[in-house]
Symmetry: C2
Subunit: 251 residues, 2 copies
Amino acid sequence: MDFIKINYTGRIKDGAVFDTTRREDAEKEGIFDERRVYKPFSVAVGEGQVVEGLDEALAKMKVGEKKTVTIEPEKAYGPRNPSMVKLIPIKQFKQQRINPIPGMPVEIDNMRGRVQTVAGGRVRVDFNHELAGKTIEFDVEVVEKAKTDTDKVNYILERAFESSDEFESKLTANKLTVKLPKSANYDQNLLMRKMSFTAEAFKLLKVDDVVFEETWENPEKKKKEKSDSGDEKSDDKSEEKTPKKSGKKSD
Amino acid sequence: MDFIKINYTGRIKDGAVFDTTRREDAEKEGIFDERRVYKPFSVAVGEGQVVEGLDEALAKMKVGEKKTVTIEPEKAYGPRNPSMVKLIPIKQFKQQRINPIPGMPVEIDNMRGRVQTVAGGRVRVDFNHELAGKTIEFDVEVVEKAKTDTDKVNYILERAFESSDEFESKLTANKLTVKLPKSANYDQNLLMRKMSFTAEAFKLLKVDDVVFEETWENPEKKKKEKSDSGDEKSDDKSEEKTPKKSGKKSD
C-alpha cells in the first residue's frame, strides 16, 4: 500500500467547488478559510481515507500525474435517502434557544443535518450528506510518494496533528516512538489527535506499540540560557541554580 | 528538604473533623467519601504544601512520631475578613437557574463562597475560607520518609496522579523521565496532572526537563497474545499478521 500526497479540487459536476487543497482555487471560488493551511493532503491509498471512486483512481496514478476523475454517487457520498428528511416540531428548537432558518446546519440526536424549510410550526431538516446523490469531480494531482518509513510516519502525523514539523520518530519492527514538539504539550485536542494517530499507525504500519515522548522544560532553565547566551550547554548547571524559598501557602 | 508521608486528622479546635487521611476516622466522623482513597499523604516539608503551622511542626518530627499540633488562624487559613461577606441580588442567581439556600456552596466570578442567608431579594454570601478565623488541630503521624530519588519522584507522582503504581521513572542530573501506565492514556485530566507534576518536579528536584513516555498498544496485538497464550513473545510476529482489506469509507 502506498502513502502519497495529493492536491485536489473537488466540485459537484457542473456546479460548485466544495473542497480544495489549493489556496488559489479556494480564493477563486470564494471558499477561502484563513484558519486552514493549504497544502498537499496525505493519503494511504486503498484504505478508505478518501471516497471509493477517488481511492480507485489514485491506485493507478503515478507521482507527477494529473487527472480529472468523475465519480457517480455510489462511489462518492452515496445516494440520497428520502427517509433522512425529517419534520421536527419548532418548539424543540425554541427550547434550545435556536431560531431555525433555511440553510442553517443543525445537530439533533448526534446527527448533523441542514434546515430546508420552516412552516406550520414544523421544521424540515435534511440529514443526508450534503453531497449525497451528487456526481462529483476531482481535479487531482499526485505530488509525492513516501519513500522511507519516516516519510510514512510523517504522512500519518500530518493527518492527525496537521503538521509533522518538529516531530521526531523512530520505527522498529514492533514499536514506533514519536517525540512530540513542545508546542503540543498544551494542545487541548491532544488526546483526540493521539487516538487518531495511533489508530492509523496500528492499522497501516502494523506496529504493536506506539510510544509518545513529551518533553516539558523548566522555565527557570530558559531564563538561565537567555542570561548566559553563548554558553548554552555548560556542564555544571547544578552549581548555578538559585535555591528558592517559598513562604506561600498553597493549601 | 525532606519528602515525607503523613497520616493526619484535622479538626476545628473543640469541634468537627474537616479532613483526614484515615478511613476509620472518616467513618467515625461521618465524612467518609467512597470515591477517595484513604492513604498517607505525600508532603515536601517546608514548601507550603500544607498550612504553615503544620509545615513547621513536620520539620521537627521523625519517622514514626505522632503528635497533636494546635495551630492559630494566622498560621492556618488566616483570619476571617468581614469585607469578604457580600450581598448579591437574588436575580443574579435566578438568571443562572440557581435557587440559593443557606449553606449552599456557590462560585461567583471565580470565587468560591457559601450562602449564609437569603432575605429581601438579597443573598448574603461568605467568601472567606470555611476555616478562616479558626484554630485547628492536627493529629499527625510521620509514616515514612523518601530515601532514594525514585521515592521522591513517586511522592510527587502521588500528589499529581493520586498514585505512583505502575509508573516508572529515571532521574539524571538534568532530566527526569516518567513512563506513564497505559491507564493514564485516556485520563481526561491528564494535561492538568502533567502541569502540576512538572511544576513540582521543576521546583523540588531542580531538573531542566521532564519527559513523559506514553505507550499505546495495538488492540490486535492483545488479541493475538490471548489466542496463542503460552507463546507470548515469539519473535516472528510480523509473519502472523493478517492483512486486512477495508471497503469502508471514512470520508
